[in-house]
Structure formats: C-alpha cells, structure tokens
C-alpha cells in the first residue's frame, strides 16, 4: 500500500486557461478543409480536436473533434464524420502525428468518394480555423502524498485536470500524463501510474475523468 509514502517531490497543481485566437481562415469544402489542415499552426489542430472537451464538459462523451462535427452536420458526410470522430487520439503523442492522421483520413475519403469534392457548406456555416492560446499558471494547491492528492483532485477546477491529463501529454509532448508521471517517480507506485495512463481520457467527460482517477487512487488509500 502507498498510503504512508510521502512523495519525494510534491505534486504542484497547475491550471490552464485558454483564449481563442481567430485566424481569418475558413473552408467551405472538404478540399479546402484538407489544404488548411495541412498548413495551419499546430495550435489550430489542437484547438479543434480538444475544444469540445472543455466547452461541452457536461455531455456524455461525444466526438471531441470539430472536424468530425462539421463534416457530419454541415456537409452531411456521415461516413467521413464517423472516421474522423473515431481517430484514436490517445495513440498520438504529438500534434504533428495527429494532424497527419486527420489529413490522411480526409484524403483517402476524397479519393474513394470523388463526389464529396463538390459539396459546399451553406453560407454562414463555413469551418473557421481558430487557434488555442494556453496560459499555464500554478495554483495554491500541492499534494505531499496520495491522500492529499485525492483531496485536492476532488475540488480542483476541471481546467487543472485537463491540463495535467491532455495538454501535458499531447501539446507539451511529455509522453504520459502528469499524474502518472508523479505517482511513478515521486511515490514509486508503478502499477498505479500505469493504471491511470492506461485510461482513454477522450472517452470520458472531464467530471467523469475526475471521478475515475479518484476511484483508482482511492483503492490504494484505505479510509
């Protein structure tokens, strides 16, 4: 059991707040969408594959992906929408590789379905490329053992959970999430660390994810 283990280093909870920066770039066909996906800043790809998680945090898990939503709801390309929605984002450790996968998925679909090239969005329903600007700052919360960790995790903002799980892994290219990293290196509980890193966070709501991580860690910290 890890309950008595004091961490070598405390876990400092950070929060991440974001501002949306407009690019003025827009697409009204799949072809234009594809071209822009290939050339826009990585922060745009990050925004459109992660915005849903933060803005629709109360919903049951839905495709966390603006591209899938637009392709399905505006262009009516359900099959491509499903393919884009089911891209297994957790398998990608860099924005670059995620971008390549999205582009390849659209490219293949256009090759197999040439008629899809001539579909236009209605006026006013174009896809607007937006960039995510992240502001990362430390909160006043620090955990010195797993008990502290659970206690803080249960009341910290979902922005903080989001930062440590999603942003750290993919955008900052840390390979794993911050919680698993700390539990492994500072608490020394490799098994627990692995259990958390094995979760697919994209299939949870942020509140659901909070509860799941608490539940997993709680098993190691009896009342």
């Amino acid at each position: 059991m890890s309950e008595s283990i004091k961490a070598k280093e405390p876990f400092i909870f950070y929060t991440r707040l974001h501002l949306s920066e407009l690019t003025g770039l827009r697409a009204s066909t799949l072809g234009q969408l594809l071209e822009l996906i290939k050339e826009v800043n990585g922060s745009c790809i990050y925004h459109h594959t992660h915005r849903f998680l933060q803005q629709h945090q109360h919903l049951s898990p839905e495709p966390p992906n603006d591209f899938a939503y637009w392709v399905t709801d505006v262009l009516g390309e359900d099959e491509l929408g499903e393919r884009l929605a089911s891209i297994d984002a957790i398998q990608f450790t860099t924005i670059r590789s995620l971008r390549e996968k999205i582009a390849a998925t659209i490219e293949k679909y256009l090759n197999d379905n040439p008629l899809a090239k001539v579909r236009f969005s209605r006026e006013g329903e174009e896809f607007h490329f937006i960039k995510s600007v992240s502001f990362v700052l430390p909160t006043n919360y620090a955990a010195y053992d797993l008990k502290d960790f659970i206690d803080i995790l249960s009341r910290i903002t979902i922005d903080s959970i989001y930062y440590h799980i999603f942003e750290a892994r993919l955008r900052l290219e840390k390979n794993t999430n911050d919680f698993s990293n700390w539990i492994e290196t500072s608490i020394g509980d490799e098994k627990l660390a692995r259990e958390i890193s094995k979760l697919d966070p994209y299939t949870f709501t942020l509140e659901g994810l909070r509860n799941k991580v608490i539940k997993i860690v709680k098993r190691r910290v009896p009342d």
């Binding site: 929060t15 803005q55 629709h56 937006i130 995510s132 502001f135 990362v136 700052l137 009341r155 955008r171």
Partner: protein
C-alpha cells in the same frame, strides 16, 4: 450591483480563485476602456458590470468616454449599419465628420492606460495617439459581410492596433494583427436572469392576461423584421394544427422608430383576434422579460440575422428548450440536438417545436444541457477571465504562456 463573491454559489469557488490568480498577474497595469456612451446599448451595459468587477479583483480598470455631436452619431450610425452589410449611402462628408470628431477627441481625451481598450468604431481613430502602450479594438458588431467602403476606411485605423476582438468566428477577417474570439455574456445576477419566485412569475402572467392552461411558446425580441415575428406566428399556426398552445411575442419597440410601429401593426394584423396569441409591447422591464421566459414551455428565436443573440443564452440559462435560427452567434450557444435545436426555415422551426412539445423528456434534457453550456461558456465570469487573458496576451506573443 453584485459583488464577485456573490458568483461563488453559481460558478464555484475555484473559478473565482482563477480570476484572482489572473488579476494578480495584471498588477500595475492600467486598463483604459474608451467608448462613446455611458448609457443605452449593450456596450455600456457590459462595461457597467465588467469595470467594477475587474476593480474588485484588483485590476486597475477605468472607463472614459469620447464626445460627439449629432452629426457624428448620425455618421457612425450609418457606419454601423453599413458594417452590418445593410445598403447605406455614405458620403465623404460622413468620413470628414468622423475624422474631425476623432481629432478633437484626441486633443481632449487623456490617454494614460498601459492597455487602451477601444470599443466599436466611434473612437477607433484615437489610435493615432498610440505610443509605447498596447491598443486593442473591440468590435461588438457583426462584420461578416461589411460594406467595403466603410470597412476599408476603418482598416486604416484597425491595422495600427496590437489586436482586435470579435464576438463570433464568422465576424473575423484576414487582418495583419492578432485577433481574438471573445463572446459576450449574460449576468446571472441581473434582473433579467436572476431566480424568481413562482408568485412573481404568476403575477406577470396575470398582469398580461395569460392563462397557464396550455404550453406557452415565446419569442422575446423587439419588433423588427430581422427577428421575423411574422414567421414566428406562422410557426405557431403550423404547430397549433396538432398541439394546442399559446404564443407570446414580447419585446420593446422604440416609439420614434417608424419601422418598429409598422412591424408591430403587421404582427397585430397577422395575429388577427386569435385569443391565444399575446403580443406584448413591453417597456424596458427586465424582471417581466425574465418572468415571461421562465413561464414558457419553449423559447423561439427565429431571427433572420443576429449580432450575437444573447436572448438565447438568457433562455438556456433558465433551462428552457430553445428552437433558434442558425445565424450570427446562435450556433455558438446551441449545439444542434445537444443543447437546443437549430433551424433554417419556418417549417423546420415548426417541426422542432412540435417534436419538443411531444417529447417533454427530450425537451427537458436539451434545456438542462443548455443551462450547463451557458454556465460554462457564457456567464460574465468567463467574460472577465477572457478579458484578463486578452490583456496578458498583449505581453506574450507565444501560443503557450507560462505565467
């Protein structure tokens, strides 16, 4: 005026803690807001709330006004309509008046802010006073299809700013400066949105002679063709064939606006003497609007064009199922089938209303999801956060900023 602590029961302590953390990072910076009026209109309304709350958080926010005569405001009203894409005749004299007034304001207005936050086109030319400080232009209007003559004229000033802010992605243009998306917000503690006891709601219904015997469909908006009140009556008629209901069309209308009176009389003519249609020309009475929204079964917003359409956020905040047109900022507030229903036609709107009347559980779920969506994205606390992030971004050009 509500204090920042009063928002804690609504959004939670951690959100307010985050605002305080951001405010600390702005210590020592003076934020100078400048617009053209302190009363009337959405810009003044939001500044009256945002500026005191920023101050309470510890940000040195201030608010100054420019002066303008009748001719200046006539010219800027034409600019406003032209930027909305309406056909307007603009003469060289209008541009000259705009420049003269901005020139005299530039001499009179004291620019002292570290960040100068200019709201809307009226004071835009003050940018000529820019020195080492940061300047942001806040556009509160829909400029998705602007009159190119006016837009081109304004670009001469806008391009000199450090950043511009728009309310919806469709309003953005390709500009040589950074541009941010910051949506407007509603204040959950204002008279228009605060909780009301059932007796207060009932008393408004009694005052206007509206029985609670049938489902009530409501559209709150001024009597303006762009809000399509005749289309709303058509929706009601199509629904009524299958589901008995009442319709409330309520909103203000300026007595000096000839078009508004004309539209109102067309609406009355179309409604004829149907006792289930209630046409209410309300004075500016926020509590009554609040009560009517809360008394409704379904809220409609069948606009043909919208700046942002905050009446949708107001309705969703009250957990009402909403059927609204896919225009302006409405799709940001409603994700179709998740937090409301979007439509493109009268028939589509009728179908959606019928569907919701016949599936109260679904309607309830949409309303609840809508309320959560507004809570997370369209309350004044989010607006405060975005403004502080905007000010900070002026000192940090990177995409990931460590504070």
């Amino acid at each position: 005026m509500a204090r920042i602590e009063e928002y804690i029961p609504i959004v939670g302590q951690p959100i307010i803690d985050d605002l305080k953390l951001l405010a600390e990072r702005l210590k020592g910076k003076v934020i100078q807001n400048i617009n053209s009026t302190s009363v009337g209109g959405g810009v003044a309304e939001i500044l009256h709330r945002i500026v005191p709350l920023l101050k309470e958080l510890g940000v040195d926010a201030r608010w100054d006004l420019i002066k303008g005569g009748e001719q200046f405001f006539e010219a800027t009203k034409k600019f406003h309509n032209a930027l909305h894409g309406m056909p307007v005749e603009i003469s060289q004299k209008d541009f000259d008046i705009f420049l003269d007034t901005n020139r005299s304001n530039a001499e009179e207005v004291n620019i002292y802010g570290d960040v100068v936050f200019i709201h809307d086109p009226q004071p835009a030319a003050l940018i000529r006073k820019k020195k080492e400080n940061k300047w942001v232009w806040r556009c509160h209007i829909d400029v998705s299809e602007p009159n190119q003559k006016v837009w081109g004229f304004l670009r001469g000033f806008i391009d000199g700013y450090d950043a511009a802010v728009f309310s919806a992605p469709a309003f953005s243009q390709r500009l040589p400066i950074r541009q941010f998306l910051i949506s407007p917000s509603i204040d959950p503690l204002s008279d228009k949105n605060k909780e009301l006891p059932q007796e207060a709601i009932d008393s408004v219904l009694i005052k206007y002679g509206i029985p609670k015997d049938k489902p009530i469909i409501t559209q709150i908006s001024r009597f303006d063709r762009l809000k399509d009140p005749l289309g709303v009556i058509e929706v009601y008629k199509q629904v009524k064939r299958y589901s008995d209901c009442r319709l409330i069309l309520a909103g203000g209308g300026a007595s000096d606006d000839p078009e508004s009176a004309e539209v109102l009389s067309e609406v009355k003519e179309t409604a004829k003497d149907d006792p289930d249609i209630h046409i209410l020309l309300l004075p500016q009475n926020d509590i009554e609007i609040n009560a009517l929204q809360r008394a409704s079964t379904i809220i409609l917003q069948k606009s043909i064009r919208e700046g942002f359409g905050l009446t949708v956020a107001e309705a969703l905040w009250k957990a009402k199922p909403v059927v609204a047109s896919h225009v302006g900022g409405i799709p940001l507030q409603i994700t179709h089938k998740y937090s409301g229903l979007l439509c493109h036609s009268t028939e589509g709107a009728s179908f959606a209303v019928k569907q919701l009347l016949n599936s109260p559980d679904y309607a309830h779920r949409l309303g609840e999801s809508g309320r959560e969506h507004i809570k997370n994205n369209f309350l004044i606390t989010r607006h405060l956060r975005d403004y502080m992030l905007l000010f900070l971004s002026l000192y940090h050009p990177e995409d990931i900023v460590y504070l």
